[in-house]
């Protein structure tokens, strides 16, 4: 903690919460600084004191979202399923939970990446997220004893992304179940009888 004051962390948290809501609900570039500080109930100088720039605020928003997604996935997988094989398929069921939530607007990292030119700050955060998705499937595929874990993981990533796109653009939350069905077949085929 850089300062002894708890209020500063609170202001920072309110700022981050407001920015996360607005940046996700609407786009990053359509949400101005004034909107963020208005919702957070915070002065503009406080925002720039805490984050330094809008770009850093966006970075913090994506980093926090990445952490939340990762934690939620780990928590749900552990609570719901026992074996790596079950969890490999269960990822799509957990994904389906977020699709069904009221404010679902597609993958935040895909959205943020589409708004920025290549080489920007958000691309690096998105790369971290993408690496996590790959390792999520790869680790489970290895634990499940797949004959070719890399190959299986790559296939499941395709389904994972495809489900996210369909749920968002086609407004079809059931895409997760369709992906789950295919994933189960792929896992069965890759882990042998």
């Amino acid at each position: 903690m850089p300062t002894k004051s708890g209020d500063r962390a609170s202001a920072r948290e309110r700022l981050l919460a407001a920015a996360s809501e607005l940046f996700y609900e609407e786009c990053v570039h359509t949400v101005g600084i004034d909107r963020v500080i208005e919702r957070a109930g915070v002065a503009k100088a406080t925002l720039y004191n805490a984050f330094g720039s809008k770009d850093e605020l966006v970075r913090a928003y994506l980093t926090a979202r990445h952490a939340a997604t990762r934690e939620r996935m780990a928590r749900e997988l552990e609570a719901r399923y026992q074996t790596p094989r079950q969890r490999l398929v269960g990822v799509f069921e957990v994904q389906g939970l977020s699709f069904a939530e009221p404010g679902f607007r597609g993958c935040a990292f895909i959205g943020a990446c589409a708004e920025t030119r290549p080489g920007s700050t958000v691309e690096a955060v998105a790369d971290e997220y993408r690496a996590w998705v790959r390792s999520l499937f790869l680790d489970l595929a290895q634990e499940a004893g797949a004959t070719d874990p890399e190959r299986l993981a790559r296939q499941l990533v395709l389904l994972y992304d495809g489900a996210g796109i369909s749920a968002w653009m086609d407004r079809d939350p059931g895409a997760a179940l369709a992906a789950r069905t295919v994933a189960a077949a792929l896992v069965d085929a890759a882990t042998g009888p």
Copy 2:
């Protein structure tokens, strides 16, 4: 043709070509009108005379891209493959061609949709594109005699979108081949022995 002059169409075409390049290479919202008219070598008043607003220019850009994608897919499928079953899998090979092109920056409709708030003009054009993708797979699945064409088409759409995301965000043009492999297995399973 609204006017007898051929130059007007030429100015419009140059405008649309310049807008398409810029809107796709960079984002829609980062490209200003001035950039477009500069590349097209056209006066600003001409742009507003031809399109009326930037929003209509974006709409024309997406509509033209949709038409080009549709025509290219139809042409390549017809030239390369004979049976509906071959074409069902061949879609992913044609998709892989675009991934390998130098300026590939992901699906233009996903990108444009991520930049705009829901209910905007581009959403309608994106919906048309999405409907075409679905019908592309659905028609071929029916022609191929799939036991459940709807189900097969939905699965292949997942792979199609997933491949597009991986090719773009993971900079992995080979995603189309990975999708093709899974697609072939799904088609085999759905069309019987």
